[in-house]
Amino acid sequence: MSFDYESKISDCVKQVPPSAIRRFFDLASEMKGRVISLSIGEPDFVTPWDIREAGIDSLVDGYTHYSPNSGYSKSKEAIAEYIKRRYGMTYSSDGEILITVGGSEGLDLAARALINPGDEVIIVEPCFVAYKATVMFAHGVPVTVSTKPENSYKLMPEELEDAITDKTKYIILGYPSNPTGAVMTLEDLAKIKDVLLKHPDIIVISDELYSELNYIDGKPVSLAQFSEIADRVVVINGFSKAFAMTGFRIGYLLGPKELIAPMNKIHQYCIMCSPSMAQYAIIEAALNGDAHVEEMRQEYNRRRRVILKGLEDAGLECFEPFGAFYAFPSIKSTGLTSQEFCERFLMEKGVAIVPGNAFGDCGEGFVRISYAASMENIQEAMRRLAEFTGELKAGKD
């Protein structure tokens, strides 16, 4: 008799469904190298050389040991300076900053540090796939709010209000948004703050990984800029997206000591510390990296405009996204499901994009197009998209 593995796996892990787009994922992986990929949620730029060199120098100098659990002081101080410079916010490297292994670890730490079984966490969909999963792994109950294209996928204060119950422990906000590219401005966030002031027990985990990639004015904003609620906001940020450092795996949490300490407790037992080499590299990024970020932001912005024009030419409706590096057009006019659209576009035209339902049920009827790809590839992909939608339309008529 064979061993019954299935019965040994935790129910909590089993209840998290596998990704809705597993099949598409396999198909795209199989065809990689032969197709144009606008399906990748990480920068195509290589990490700027001076940042890489700072990491290399640390290896040459032999700094290859554990760091303090929350990170090297000088790395945290560099983050504090960066946050002060770019967001005007003050966080102390002594207890208010925790360096994590990417932004993803921050999501996990928040969930495990805050959730008691049965606590509700409000998740604003469509969103990054880890929000729901990390809550479920921590025995929390995700309560989803579906944002709408007609509101440019911003969270409306009344939508938040409707989702709050006496079991709500915290809210995860992810703006600028993966997958929609939506941005919430300070004025938009002020309305969310007003709702929160009516509910003084609710914490916010604000995932601001993409905040530097803002095409309104290039000025990043943070929910924690509202001093009335900053004592219950934990910001998740990191170097992956803005500085093109995904493989370095460095994120950080900013928040009141009382919330950072329990998260650090989990981090200390489960992770120990973030990679030392990467912690040295981010010092250079935080202190001297602004020009690199601006250069990449401008290039993303040009690609963004090319994508929007391409969608218009292909007859696909899309609200104008002002952040991250994604567009999230509707494909409902084609009569196909998200999955069908993406599979056929991949097979017939050799371009990979991601079905919107990967990011929540309300993403059905939409697709995520990433512009973390070269301008040439984007232009060619958009040409093929117009061809594809033209053929679909001709086939239907």
Binding site: S29, S37, I40, E42, A352, M375
Partner: protein, 162 residues
Amino acid sequence: MIDDIELLNVLENNARLSSAELAVMLGSTEAEVEAEIAKLKEDKIILGHSTIINWEKIMPYNCIGMIEVRITPIKNKGYDQIANILSKYDKVTACYLMSGGFDLMIIYEDKTLRDIANFVNEKIATQEGVLSTTTHFILKKYKANGIVFESPDDDDRQAVVL
């Protein structure tokens, strides 16, 4: 409104983009882009468009010399007169006035070492005011015009990243 610097940066990277493509990228109109480029040309800010070519791949015997020239400046004309004369030769691809131990840096391209040596002997050394020359030959190009010549361009990212 077009940001000149951004327009120039984009063109410097890819001079083959059409006005229509540039207009989309810069959030502008074709007419505006064309007017702006015309103005930049008139102001001699855009001087021309060239293609970056790895000549070694197609003409392996192309030879490039970097020639340091020490000169006595001419009264009232400084270094300009000699620099202007040397710049007139088609095969001189660049000519710079330098600080430091010599005065002009001439970059000269021709078929063979002998051709470059002849140019130095016959055209530079004979100029009035030229005190001495030192010629260096380029052995291999790793990077030019901001482009790294043999860099890997494979995309190591996963096919789908959510």
